[in-house]
């Protein structure tokens, strides 16, 4: 499958045998064409849908834009992969039911197993899982890291026990704490200061109100590639905060000193280094993008599809433009509303004349926050929600 999108510069793809290619096209510089053949997924994600991903590296797989349809939830085998450290293996995890999470900073701190977590009152929440750098490839400036376009995002149903329930069972938060910190269980190699690479993220304490210690993803045990057997799920927060293979949950007066917290995932102007006083990639912003059609459409009536999320808010509306933003028409939401943290597929029926149409979408939340036309650049290419860059040029024959 060929997934061709308007981008601002050449993207070099990496991948398996014969799997990736990049070609330069027009548009005052460079456009990229991307192709990814069916074979070649890394072993740990070999169960994923073949042909549905762009492999940026063995640890970063982007779901192709056209793979997202009108179902409100993204099937596990289509969910993108972004691992900061290699996923744990079954051998490393051992018996999943015996997996322990050490809970600290509560009145009665102690480890709790997955088996015991199951005995506390479970809940299910649907929420968008999105990498901070989703849309990085749309920025004009050069950025390190995977050049994600739209496919580092999914809508997932998680089942687990609310953090507030666990905290209550352990006597409540001990004292005056400002942060909740999750720590991943990936082994750190010898010779390395653990703070350099450990996946440990602190979020504001109020996040515990919506947080889940999850063990199910879309009705299945969370695959190891997605952070099983227990993952910290933070609805409305960017993916990095949803710590995989959760081994420790603590309530703290200060943020983690791990580099991924201290200087990583910090929003700053282009050219500046990351520092703790800069905004951290916490809550997601309002965003939408069209998923069909992407390049060509037949004459007559076309159903334009897409998905929209409000970040942490309910959506009010999504509008679609077929003329590059000159005029807008309100689209219709499709399927059930799964709550303020989930995305909603949308559809607009359009009669497109022969020619090229620039199709864009623009979402607005209940409080009136709307996607901007352009998004101000930041050094690491985080949080892009500008509607113009996400637009597609569709040719009607």
């Amino acid at each position: 499958m060929l997934d061709e999108l308007k981008v601002k510069r050449r993207h070099f793809l990496v991948g398996a045998a014969g799997a990736a290619g990049a070609a330069a096209l027009g548009d005052a510089g460079v456009r990229a064409a991307r192709a990814q053949e069916a074979s070649g997924l890394p072993d740990y994600v070999s169960w994923k849908e073949p042909g549905a991903f762009i492999q940026h590296s063995p640890q970063t797989l982007e779901t192709m834009r056209g793979e997202i349809g009108l179902s409100p939830l993204t099937p596990n085998d289509l969910v993108f992969v972004r691992n900061n450290l290699p996923s744990l293996t079954e051998e490393q995890v051992g018996d999943p039911e015996a997996w322990e999470v050490n809970v600290e900073g509560v009145a009665q701190p102690r480890p709790i197993t997955l088996a015991e977590l199951r005995t506390l009152g479970p809940e299910t929440v649907a929420c968008v899982l999105q990498c901070s750098g989703n849309g990085r490839g749309f920025f004009e400036h050069e950025t390190s890291g995977s050049q994600w376009l739209t496919g580092a995002a999914a809508n997932v149903s998680w089942t687990g026990v609310p953090v507030r329930t666990v905290v209550e069972a352990m006597g409540g938060v001990d004292g005056d704490k400002s942060f909740m910190t999750g720590t991943g269980g990936e082994p750190i190699p010898e010779g390395l200061d653990p703070l350099t690479v450990i996946v440990e993220r602190s979020v504001p304490l109020e996040a515990q109100e919506v947080a889940l210690l999850a063990w199910e993803m879309n009705g299945e045990p969370i695959p190891l590639a997605h952070g099983g057997p227990v993952r910290l799920v933070l609805p409305g927060y960017y993916g990095v905060n949803n710590v995989k293979h959760l081994k420790r949950l603590s309530f703290d007066e200060t943020q983690s000193q791990a580099d991924i917290q201290r200087s990583g995932y910090r929003v700053r102007p282009v050219g500046e280094s990351g520092a703790p006083d800069q905004p951290s990639m916490y809550q997601m912003n309002v965003k939408s993008w069209v998923t069909h059609p992407l390049r060509e459409a037949g004459t007559g009536r076309t159903q334009i599809w897409g998905v929209a999320l409000g970040g942490t808010e309910d959506l009010d509306r999504v509008e679609v433009s077929t003329d590059g933003g000159e005029t807008w028409e309100e689209a219709r939401f499709v399927g059930p509303d799964l709550g303020r943290f989930a995305w909603r597929p949308f559809v607009l029926a359009a009669d497109l004349a022969p020619g090229t149409h620039r199709i864009a979408s623009r979402a607005t939340t209940a409080s009136g926050a709307a996607q901007p036309r352009d998004f101000e650049p930041n050094h690491r290419g985080y949080g892009h929600n500008g509607w113009d860059a996400h637009a597609v040029d569709v040719t009607v024959q």
Partner: protein, 113 residues
């Protein structure tokens, strides 16, 4: 990834190789020696080889991507060193610009060998 390394090299690697051939002059041996040593031993920052595999340096780290499989371009390595990627820290406070470039150049050529 499939187990046979030789079969994993895709079209992107070919493109990247072409770009490198056009843009990278041969580095002095002393720079390569420094880059290889730094890759394996690091400085105040951790050595690259603790996390990354690179056949040319006989490095076998498994925390980060296997560079021989990833086949990054010089510019991709440079940006990763300058700014960091995910849990990979930025090296720009430890290494001056010319050293970042020398290390990136070394890695980008090494993965094509």
């Amino acid at each position: 990834m499939p187990p046979v390394r030789g079969s994993r090299r895709g079209a992107a690697g070919v493109v990247a190789s072409g770009v490198l051939a056009l843009t990278c002059a041969a580095a002095p041996a002393a720079e390569d020696d420094w880059a290889r040593t730094y890759f394996l031993e690091g400085g105040a920052m951790p050595a690259c080889g603790i996390c990354h595999s690179l056949d040319a340096a006989e490095a076998t780290g498994t925390v980060g991507p296997d560079l021989d499989l990833l086949e990054p371009t010089e510019q991709q390595v440079y940006l990763a060193l300058r700014d960091g990627v995910g849990v990979m820290p930025a090296f720009s406070e430890e290494l001056p610009e010319d050293r970042l470039r020398a290390l990136a150049d070394y890695v980008a050529r090494a993965v094509q060998e």
